[in-house]
Point group: D2
Chain length 349, copies 4
């Protein structure tokens, strides 16, 4: 059997007893904790007893205690992640992709089309966004589509065109990986940064094999992933020995559906506190409509995002995917000017 | 029976027929629409027929058609709100409270404690936040508390102290109304702006009676209210003849509970497009913890909020409510400086 | 100042310290706890310390500790409700409304139209549902409508017709209260059970005044109320001395919007465990479409609901509200037969 | 470029124009629709115009129209799925796994441990649940775990033990596939039914390759997947030529977190109407605690589920995963008896 040998000795659970629980029941819980090789400490109130569980968290699971007589509920104290946390590494991590650095005060602007559609399209856009201030190029070659009948991407040809766009502009490229079988192609075209998409945030097989390439990873948050699950997905990458992880908040799914998703700046601000990893925002997928992309980009960067990734298209009305949410060159230029006015681009805020 | 006489002639529904629906079924739907005094227009596809419903929307409800044979579903085209929409009034509304104006480029900073606790507390805080740049004072006298055992506010004494703080600082005051029985007290102390809280966003009795006072209303979004429901609650106020409505996005409830609520900047940006009403943000309730208030305030104002309302306390560790999320004078000062660096306070962005 | 004198001595919080916290920081937290008149007990792990807080929970709020140096987070152990809990009262409460009893094994079937529309309508429906096995009559006289332009109910005339329907059928009546000003009318027509609707679940002013009438209350869960908030709203009623509370799960709001709401049977099953109050389900509002009402009613009763409240209309295609989700007499009959086949109606399961 | 050749001619969008839109703008939209080879039909109201789009839906995306002058919003009429829908195939599909049939009136009971842990464990449980009425055996060999430090399953040894348990009991087996690299092992041990888990519901690479094995698939709904996304994931399988798909509702993620997930019986009831595929429920993962599993199982089957999959363990207090939510043999027996009392097991309801 496979067990991870990551022994951590800490206060990791609090067993809350029912008001009606007897002293014998509390003793039984304490005994069970000791039988598993941990230490229990009881706190007695007039009405209720609570028992702290101290020791190696891998030796005892809440399921081992939850059914004991008199147990009301179990509170988890320790977080299951470790290497991604600021308690583990207090200073900010800097992730380098070519000459670009994520995690500094200066935010990184990544721009490009949703999908690579043709040589003319990707070269035009790459040159356009570079001229307007973007430092990296995005573009999908393999597209994970909700419907089997939607455009699935140009596949290997898309990777080839991205590499060509990089050659002509010098911009490092980031593109999504959706199958472990494509990893050799990502090596062949020397893709600078591998994007793991929202739908695959808990595809641990893909995550582990992408991590093993050693290439920088852009890990997008799942549509309904909690902050803890998001950080644990990143923990999988660090646990494979790859420290080059940039997180990406791209909007979550809520009851409010007047826009495609909802940009979760609360979590972004929280993650900056509790993790040392850089985190950027994707206002295009969060907004789902072009007219809200710039306001959300400004908000995310003002809140403290280490960068943004935005969709820009030279002819959004003819885009094969996500045309609805793509910026034109003009609207991208206008957004960049607002960022300069707010002293955000140079990282002075 | 009470019916509202608001006749609007528009395309207001699309009836989508099942693929197996016969021509007779489509004709029956058309006939039913005409029987209610509206016009139906059928669009025939090879596989599916859809029927537009045109006319006075008060004469026909989707429930009147949804059971007819062959009907698959009904899509609503027209929105149920009217006076709050930008289609009705294209230019921004400006709401004046004393000398303060909501809706201009310059955002309004409202600050103060969660609840009024004593004369010394409210006067100290009022003077402190004024000196640091706040233009209005907040403070609860009547507190709607989730638990019957929590501090319920100083009641009338709280209103009296707020009026005194206004006298000493010149800051207009905003405070929450939770019962129609308190309206005379709000008149007695000449409360400048009436806050309607998140829990009462669909307490239409309270909304209508508050609206009738003619005083400016700060309407907070309900914890799970959609943009449409939020605007309809405001429509109730405008429909009573009171145009002085300022909306407030204060965070919504989602699956993500690492923070108290989730500031919905998507909806804020959207509402600025589709409504002429000013909208501010409440980063304190959205964050629920003091260390995330400033990042969210910056994000909200950069996204385009017409102001913010933040909790500031001189001794947050001793606050009777919401101490966990209150800024100190020092952290409030620091936030104001960041806003100045970003050229946000003067409305230049 | 108003404080509630409800002193409870219990283990009520766990203060989790940061890994980097020093012994002095832990001592400072312990000292602060003692300064507020409570007891602190520290549990030391190799990596992390946690401190239990024991004593009167009204003397110390988490906000009083959350900012102390070295504090990472605070876990709440004790629940804020009391009188609604099974720990307080282990046996099921039985709530009587006329001859009907909620809380027994036999579930209660409440049926009737969304709104009272005319004498002919309400009398026809009351007789119809009685004949088919319903034991109580529902029907709205005052309707809280999301839009100010929707049908607002027949008001006092509606109450009068409900009383008449009761007289002709013997069925006790339940109808919604939306303003404290209508309470005298509810007394005048001797309304058997007062419904407090989802939109008013945290309208504490209305709740307290309805509770004071002493009449049985049907308290509907708010659209995004947690189980804890729902139980605390009921606690407000019990705290006013009125023990006749029946809870109603009516569907919550989630990301999934293919149906109007989502019937939360998890919470219903949980509440039956942790509270002694009866709880029924409203499959009509949960489904939002007539064809899903019966399957959800069966599911709710099989899960253990103490009853259901369903909308039935003699002419649903002409209903002034909620026609889309109303059962016809035929579909109501069919549902009742399925319940008998499953041995649910007689409470044998 | 890869395009799917699935040409459907139908009414597929409604373009809603702004009130201020001119006749020229409407004509421009109509012209654009025609330029893409489709037909537009305008419906003119006094205040607003709407334009139906009729033709091959693959030729025009909403993004191609959403930016045209005067366009307010676009409503989608046609659903993107096809082969899973009841409009495509009106009669229920029956999926056979060994002698077991999903989709008949008689529901299928699948039981077994969360994970295979040892020969003694899986054989004991297999024999136990068979004796109590289960018709299929579940058990994880490869476990997708949120944390890299959790038990990851017995891997190939687990598959071998499942095959042995099948041999000794005759129960067909279902177990989860998490990597395309494991498919040869699933062939080697002749796994009767491949489970695709919630975290992989949009891992289209895994879905397509699992589908190609031709083996029956148990497709679990993603934690925040909409009904439409769930059906589209199934459409991927049917589109590969594999018709043996059983859907599984296992609880979704909402704001309510008093239980692990929330069993969505609304969607289950809806899917039974709009799709011909069988759908079962997983009350164990929905509840997350053993005491709520039986009530939810009863509710799901009463609502119309074609079966349930439940976790049963001989020693749940010592389970390596999910002990908290596993039934004992005693509680499983009790649940089966309740199902018999309700005439559910024989499919008579």
């Amino acid at each position: 059997m496979q067990f991870n040998n990551n022994h951590i000795t800490t206060v990791h659970m609090i067993v809350v007893m029912q008001k009606s629980a007897t002293k014998e029941m509390a003793n039984h819980v304490l005994q069970t904790i000791e039988n598993h090789g941990l230490r229990g400490e009881a706190m007695f109130g007039d009405q209720r007893t609570a028992i702290g569980v101290i020791g190696d968290k891998n030796k005892l699971d809440e399921g081992n205690l939850s059914r004991l007589p008199g147990v009301k509920e179990i509170l988890l104290v320790s977080k299951p992640y470790k290497k991604v946390s600021r308690e583990y590494k207090p200073e900010n991590s800097i992730v380098k992709v070519g000459n670009v650095e994520f995690g500094n005060k200066k935010p990184v602007i990544i721009a490009g089309p949703c999908g690579v559609e043709s040589e003319e399209q990707i070269i035009t856009i790459a040159k356009g966004v570079k001229q307007l201030g973007a430092e990296m190029l995005r573009g999908g070659a393999f597209k994970p589509r909700t419907s089997p009948y939607s455009f699935q991407g140009m596949q290997e040809d898309g990777l080839k065109l991205l590499a060509q766009a990089r050659k002509e502009t010098g911009l490092p490229i980031v593109t999504e990986l959706i199958s472990i079988e494509h990893i050799p192609l990502f090596e062949k075209y020397d893709i600078d940064m591998i994007q793991l998409g929202a739908r695959n945030m808990q595809n641990f097989d893909l995550i582990k094999k992408a991590a093993k390439t050693g290439r920088p990873i852009l890990l997008k948050r799942g549509m309904s992933a909690t902050v803890e699950e998001f950080l644990l997905a990143a923990e999988y990458i660090l646990n494979e020995g790859n420290k080059n992880v940039v997180l990406c908040e791209r909007g979550i799914r809520t009851f409010e559906q007047s826009t495609r998703n909802l940009l979760d700046l609360n979590s972004l601000a929280l993650i900056k506190e509790i993790s040392h990893l850089p985190i950027i925002a994707d206002p295009s997928h969060a907004a789902g409509r072009y007219d809200l992309v710039a306001p959300l980009a400004l908000g995310a960067l003002a809140t403290g995002a280490n960068g943004i990734i935005v969709e820009v298209h030279n002819k959004p009305d003819e885009a094969l995917s996500d045309g609805k949410q793509s910026l034109t060159f003009d609207s991208f230029r206008e957004m960049m000017e607002q960022l300069r006015t707010m002293h955000i681009l140079n990282g002075n805020n």
